[in-house]
């Protein structure tokens, strides 16, 4: 071998090695940054939220106005958020599940149509929630509806519907045509195939979709800003305005009064814990219901 080519060979080897080290280092670095930021957020929530968290905070509504009042807690926002998210998630589920099943079983042969529908849903998924809020607000003004729990539920369910449908759809899409054929050949109708076979097959996916949507709906501030409003009271009917946790952070954090501010931190902590519980339970449910799933 010539001297020149040998040099080239070693040079190449060294540069490959350097490349390897460089990329490994950058990946390690960015992973560390992500973890650090995450820990920092959790730390600041815990550091400011934990001292202000008390039994009163969780069991009382704000006394004398959420902005100025010094006593009371965030019970209105906790209950309001749960009402709103439960309502919106159930509404989105009732609409979304049949849509996903229809796309995958009744329209299974119309691939182009279904794929363009998927594309539209993905676009809708990407639209910022404030746009949904503004849209809902316009419609509500048109019909003369004031900010209310029902308005919020409808708008938030519109906002999480694409997430719900696409998440269920992904599960249905990945299950094989063979399973549908097997069910048909036993003499079942399309409806039986959809609700007795495919729904069981995709149960883990459906649960993930529901919990994902629930997490999105409870954590979103922009879409409820115009549509549910904010209040100190716990709503007793669907037509009353409702407080939510994200808005309770938004409004109370800007207050100059430290007691009010601490309520915002407590709300942030409660919200984080709720979302943490949701994602953990989604994992658990997925594992629990995976056992019946047929792997392809």
């Amino acid at each position: 071998m010539k001297r020149g080519s040998l040099n080239k060979y070693y040079l190449r080897k060294i540069s490959l090695k350097a490349e390897e080290i460089f990329f490994r280092a950058t990946m390690l670095f960015s992973s560390c940054i992500i973890i650090f930021i995450l820990l920092l957020i959790i730390y600041s929530i815990l550091q400011k939220g934990l001292p202000s968290l008390s039994i009163d905070m969780l069991t009382q509504t704000p006394k004398g106005g959420f902005y100025f009042g010094k006593e009371g807690g965030i019970l209105n926002a906790i209950i309001g958020s749960i009402y709103l998210s439960l309502g919106a998630t159930s509404l989105a589920f009732i609409i979304g599940l049949p849509v996903a099943l229809f796309m995958n079983i009744w329209l299974s042969h119309k691939k182009k149509l279904v794929n363009s529908f998927r594309f539209i849903l993905d676009l809708l998924w990407g639209i910022p929630s404030i746009v949904y809020g503004a849209f809902g607000f316009t419609v509500m003004i048109y019909f003369g509806i004031k900010a209310s729990l029902i308005g919020g539920i409808v708008v938030v369910s519109l906002f999480i519907l694409p997430i719900m449908i696409r998440a269920i759809d992904e599960g249905l899409k990945s299950s094989s045509v063979g399973l549908i054929e097997a069910s048909y050949s036993l003499g079942s109708t399309k409806t039986e195939t959809a609700f007795k076979v495919m729904m069981k097959q995709c149960l883990p996916c459906i649960i993930t979709a529901v919990l994902l949507s629930f997490g999105r709906s409870i954590g979103d501030a922009a879409s409820v800003l115009f549509t549910t409003g904010f209040t100190d009271h716990i709503p007793t009917s669907l037509t009353q305005p409702t407080a939510t946790l994200p808005l309770s952070i938004f409004f109370q954090l800007s207050s100059p009064i430290p007691e009010v501010k601490s309520r915002a931190y407590a709300a942030a902590l409660v919200l984080t814990v709720i979302i943490l519980i949701i994602s953990l339970s989604s994992r658990l449910f997925t594992i629990k219901y995976k056992k019946n799933r047929i792997n392809f």
Partner: protein, 268 residues
């Protein structure tokens, strides 16, 4: 030659001595301009094992699936002709397609158990036919599992998910499930292609036992398997039926050059 070991007592179908179960006349199937099945006319004898042979992509599976109208799943398939089961044209009759499918059990290339327990897999077919009494279900489920020789392996774990079974057991479960809707025909689409040799043997053995009560139509591309179990052979090539007749004649006295080439192994 090993392929000669076919049952020798075959009465040629052309003599009309065996009652025919399925009679297909001038069946054509097109997807757009692609002509998948060309003018198929075959008959399947009752209570015999009929094997559809042919190289890959010749339309064997499509022919089998058109027999229980799974082709309905693809509306762009244009199906013309006649498929008669017991003299009833199933392609154009007013009968509900689910009732037609209940008369045929289907085994696919790989087992597709339903995503539920072993017990429910078999109960499913009975339940959608309206049989819900627990006593009855338990009795029938035991019966069909014994018939598919799976009972001894699963009797203590009926409530476990079907996905926990081995693939060979899953295929036998699918057989039991198919039998549970009380069909008179069993359609099998290369039922052993995903299985290990021992499980394949069990399925073949089962077919030989079952043929007294059922008409079995099986697609395969394994010549040896066809020789082992076939009573009657339909040989297809490029969407056409080249030859059909009793297995003994087909293997020993092929009539066309294409069949001879296929049996030599020079087409595939």
């Amino acid at each position: 030659m090993e392929t000669l070991s076919v049952s020798k007592k075959v009465i040629p179908i052309t003599n009309y001595q065996i009652p025919k179960k399925i009679q297909i006349e001038n069946l054509n199937l097109k997807i757009g301009k692609k002509h998948i099945l060309k003018d198929i006319s075959v008959s399947v004898p009752k209570n015999k094992i009929t094997v559809i042979l042919g190289p890959s992509g010749c339309g064997k599976t499509t022919l089998l699936k058109s027999m229980n109208r799974l082709t309905d799943m693809y509306p762009d398939m244009e199906v013309t002709g006649k498929i008669c089961i017991d003299d009833e044209d199933i392609l154009h009759s007013g009968t509900d397609v689910t009732n037609i499918r209940k008369r045929m059990g289907l085994l696919s290339q790989r087992p597709y158990p339903l995503p539920m327990s072993i017990y429910k897999n078999i109960a499913y077919g009975l339940k959608i036919s309206g049989r819900r009494k627990k006593r009855f279900l338990e009795k029938r489920i035991r019966h069909y599992l014994i018939q598919a020789s799976l009972w001894d392996e699963v009797k203590d774990r009926l409530r476990e998910p079907a996905s926990s079974l081995s693939i060979g057991q899953q295929q036998r479960l699918c057989l039991a499930r198919g039998l549970a809707v009380d069909p008179d025909i069993i359609l099998a689409d290369e039922p052993t292609s995903a299985l290990d040799p021992i499980s394949s043997q069990e399925i073949e053995k089962k077919f030989l036992e079952l043929k007294n009560g059922y008409t079995i139509v099986m697609v395969t591309h394994v010549l040896r398997q066809a020789a082992r179990i076939a009573d009657y052979v339909i040989f297809m090539y490029l969407g056409e039926v080249i030859e059909q007749g009793p297995a003994y004649e087909f293997f020993n006295n092929p009539k066309t050059e294409i069949t001879r080439a296929y049996l030599r192994g020079s087409i595939n």
